[in-house]
């Protein structure tokens, strides 16, 4: 009985025209519409011919860099009032953030890329070719190596902002106390690291992973090996001498003279400054901070030593270049901005390269006239770059890097046979190259 009366009461309520329930329903509908309509994307073009360019940088470690890039952007907007630049200072893992952003339509119009421009990025159309910016004169003014690392199928895909390289920083006083000469071969380096190891202060720091990622290139190059052969059609790292060099990395790791578990990694100079290790594999970018904190008299530099008697010292030719997003809406405006910043404006280039950290300007003229790079030890390291610097080719993809790094990990950490591992990695690299050549 009670059920029935409830039923008919409900039926009565449901049949009335306006009641509480239907009011709530319609409010929910209206509110939902309002809420979801607010999620429309704001248009990029602010006014009729106002253009908004998004410019993405990675987080540079040196102080003052973020303020500097914003200053450059403001300067550009002063001279070109219809272009507004939004700077994204990307913290943390820049590579992942950039890759994720490039997949969407809201990718930055101008972004930087480190070391080289990968072929896969270009094939997907995500980077615009910048050939029209490179007149003969401009091209001659740039270092050929900087251009080569972004030349794919004949077109150049970036404008290099700065050149980076690495070197071994050592404390002269500690080496003198231990009676050790600055090492010039890999064996001497291993002995020196052991001699300088006092337990509390380790002998050498090459990264928290024992140098597997940081020294992947330098070890190979110091044994006269290369990642790929001259035509970039086959791997060239699976030689006996390179295998011996990676085996020596294992020996180095087993000496217990390597600093591991430091709070920051090798690219940050604090391990050297705080005296956690006597020698540190670091980058040129950290030199001003090191010279300031440790003092120029006590700091010496070395390239990564040769792996055997016929080898050569090696260091990486890295750096960052500016790319223009190939699927953006304002490609011409972005190209003009990049041209203004990194081709025409010598003052900004010198400030950016030398005002905060030390980098070598990629324009030959700017590099030769840069004052801070004329004195040792900065001039020594600039010399290392020119004499011993090796660059990654654009055809060297992430998959190849992972394959080689996994091989070296097994060599160093699991006592695997170096030649076998390198040959296995070479197979993977070859199949990647075949895929790139097909596609």
């Amino acid at each position: 009985m009670s059920g029935l009366s409830r039923d008919s009461a409900n039926a009565r309520v449901l049949r009335t025209d306006v009641d509480r329930r239907s009011v709530v329903k319609s409010m929910l509908f209206a509110g939902g519409t309002l809420l979801f309509s607010g999620f429309g994307r704001a248009d990029r073009a602010v006014a009729q011919d106002n253009i908004r360019l998004v410019h993405m940088y990675h987080q540079y470690g040196e102080e003052g860099t973020e303020a500097a890039v914003r200053r450059y952007a403001e300067q550009y907007t002063e001279e070109n009032p219809n272009v507004e630049i939004e700077i994204i200072w990307q913290l943390g893992d820049y590579g992942q953030a950039l890759n994720a952003a490039l997949l969407t339509d809201e990718a930055p119009d101008v972004f930087e890329h480190g070391t080289r421009v990968p072929v896969d990025l270009v094939r997907q159309g995500q980077v615009a070719p910048l050939d029209d910016l490179y007149t003969d004169e401009v091209r001659a003014g740039f270092n050929e190596v900087s251009l080569a690392s972004a030349t794919i199928d004949g077109s150049i895909y970036w404008v290099k902002m700065l050149d980076d390289t690495g070197c071994i920083y050592y404390r002269k006083s500690l080496l003198e106390e231990a009676g050790v000469e600055p090492p010039e071969t890999l064996d001497a380096l291993i002995e020196a690291a052991q001699a300088l190891n006092t337990g509390r202060q380790k002998g050498l720091f090459v990264g928290n992973d024992g140098g597997i990622s940081g020294l992947l290139g330098p070890l190979c190059w110091s044994a006269n090996g290369r990642f790929l052969n001259e035509d970039n059609t086959a791997p060239a790292f699976n030689t006996e001498r390179v295998a011996a060099a990676y085996t020596k990395l294992r020996d180095l790791n087993q000496t217990d003279a390597l600093l591991m578990g430091a709070p920051t990694d090798w690219w940050d100079p604090s391990s050297f400054i705080q005296g956690l290790a006597a020698m540190v594999w670091g980058g040129l970018w950290a030199m001003p901070q090191i010279l300031r904190e440790v003092g120029a008299e006590d700091v010496g530099v070395l390239p990564w030593p040769k792996a055997d008697d016929e080898g050569t010292p090696a260091t990486f030719w890295g750096g960052w270049g500016q790319c223009v997003f190939g699927k953006g809406q304002h490609i011409d405006a972005a190209k003009a901005y990049v041209k203004w910043l990194w081709i025409d404006n010598t003052e900004i280039q010198q400030d950016w390269n030398l005002g905060y950290g030390f980098h070598v300007p990629p324009r030959i003229e700017a590099a030769e006239s840069a004052e801070p790079l004329q004195e040792p030890p900065a001039s020594d390291v600039a010399g290392f770059l020119n004499d011993y610097g090796v660059v990654d080719p654009p055809q060297w993809t992430g998959a190849m890097g992972t394959a080689l790094q996994d091989a070296v990990t097994r060599i160093v950490r699991e006592d695997a046979d170096a030649m076998t591992e390198l040959n296995a990695a070479a197979e993977t690299v070859q199949s990647e190259l075949d895929r790139l050549q097909e596609g």
Binding site: N208, D209, L259, D265
Partner: protein, 318 residues
């Protein structure tokens, strides 16, 4: 008597789509619409898209269309690194699942038997669950288990007279990083499972213990083994299952403790499947293979769940 037969309530024989219940149905649909739409857009659509991507060659792009059939699946399964990552996961699960189970059961028993301040202890053990895995990983990596002489763990060793400065995360012989990884996850998740066990414990009828006491059973191990543990069977199975799935999805602490910008050489020390797929998809920008790997992983989890359910008879009345 049926309502339809009573004379004073007339319910016409109308077709089902004209019954008065349709208004209630519309209301129901409207109210669950936001959740269903959200679920559809943010969960089902990406899963479907991911399935389509796994059948295409998608590098540096997430658009589909470059169909390659099952190539990505074959690639991943024939990859030694992927199989290694499954082995890593198996080792990890063998450690973490029993240890978590025993710790959380033990804690639950202790907290249950505390006379005073039970709420306080429950909160204290549960709070780590609210802490982000990333934060805990960083604290573990740089504060407690850093390789410097003044890292917390090294200092504790020093107090005990040891002279060695252990690089907890870098050394491989013996592999101390497993200690770091397992303790981090243990601290973070024991509280959660303890709460589940507490709920299970509280459902056990007190009169059983009284009956056992009358029969002369000692309280303690005997009552635990004969009364408590059997009655916790469904809870135990649920905890084991959840634990196993969580171990399969282990990612945060591995990538934060073993990873690092600039020294990625440590990640391959202990690389569970999700970290490996992350490196493939985000690192090498090969979304096709990454998606294929994700679906293979899902299939494995579903298979193991079904098998485990069958073996333990999950859901049957005890």
């Amino acid at each position: 008597m049926e309502a339809a037969e009573r004379a004073d309530v007339y319910v016409a024989k109308v077709p089902w789509w004209r019954q008065s219940r349709w208004e209630a149905t519309i209301a129901f649909l409207l109210f669950i619409a936001p959740m269903i739409i959200g679920l559809g857009i943010f969960t089902f659509l990406p899963i479907g898209w991911g399935l389509l991507i796994s059948f295409s060659d998608a590098r540096n792009t997430i658009s589909i269309g470059n169909w390659v059939g099952f190539d990505n699946y074959v690639d991943i399964l024939s990859n030694a690194e992927f199989r290694d990552s499954l082995v890593t996961f198996a080792i990890f699960a063998v450690f973490i699942v029993p240890i978590t189970f025993f710790f959380s059961l033990g804690l639950a028993l202790l907290v249950n038997s505390v006379g005073f301040g039970r709420g306080f202890f429950r909160s204290v053990f549960f709070i780590p669950t609210a802490i982000s895995y990333v934060v805990a990983s960083i604290v573990w990596k740089m504060g407690i288990f850093s390789g410097l002489p003044y890292g917390f763990a090294n200092m504790v060793l020093y107090w005990f007279g040891s002279d060695r400065v252990i690089a907890w995360i870098g050394e491989t012989d013996p592999p101390y990083y497993w200690l770091v990884l397992v303790t981090c996850r243990l601290w973070l998740q024991v509280g959660f499972y303890m709460i589940i066990f507490l709920a299970g414990l509280q459902e056990i009828d007190r009169s059983l213990y009284e009956a056992a006491a009358v029969d002369g059973a000692q309280s303690g191990w005997t009552t635990f083994w004969t009364i408590t543990f059997p009655l916790l069977r469904n809870t135990s199975i649920a905890v084991l299952l959840l634990n196993f799935i969580a171990a399969f999805q282990a990612f945060d602490e591995f990538i934060n403790i073993l990873g690092g910008v600039g020294s990625s050489g440590n990640i391959s020390l202990a690389r569970p499947p999700l970290v490996y797929l992350y490196q493939i998809a985000m690192g090498q920008q090969d979304y096709g293979r990454g998606s294929a790997g994700a679906f293979i992983l899902t299939a494995i989890i579903i298979f193991v769940t079904i098998v485990q359910g069958r073996i333990f008879g999950f859901g049957q009345r005890s």
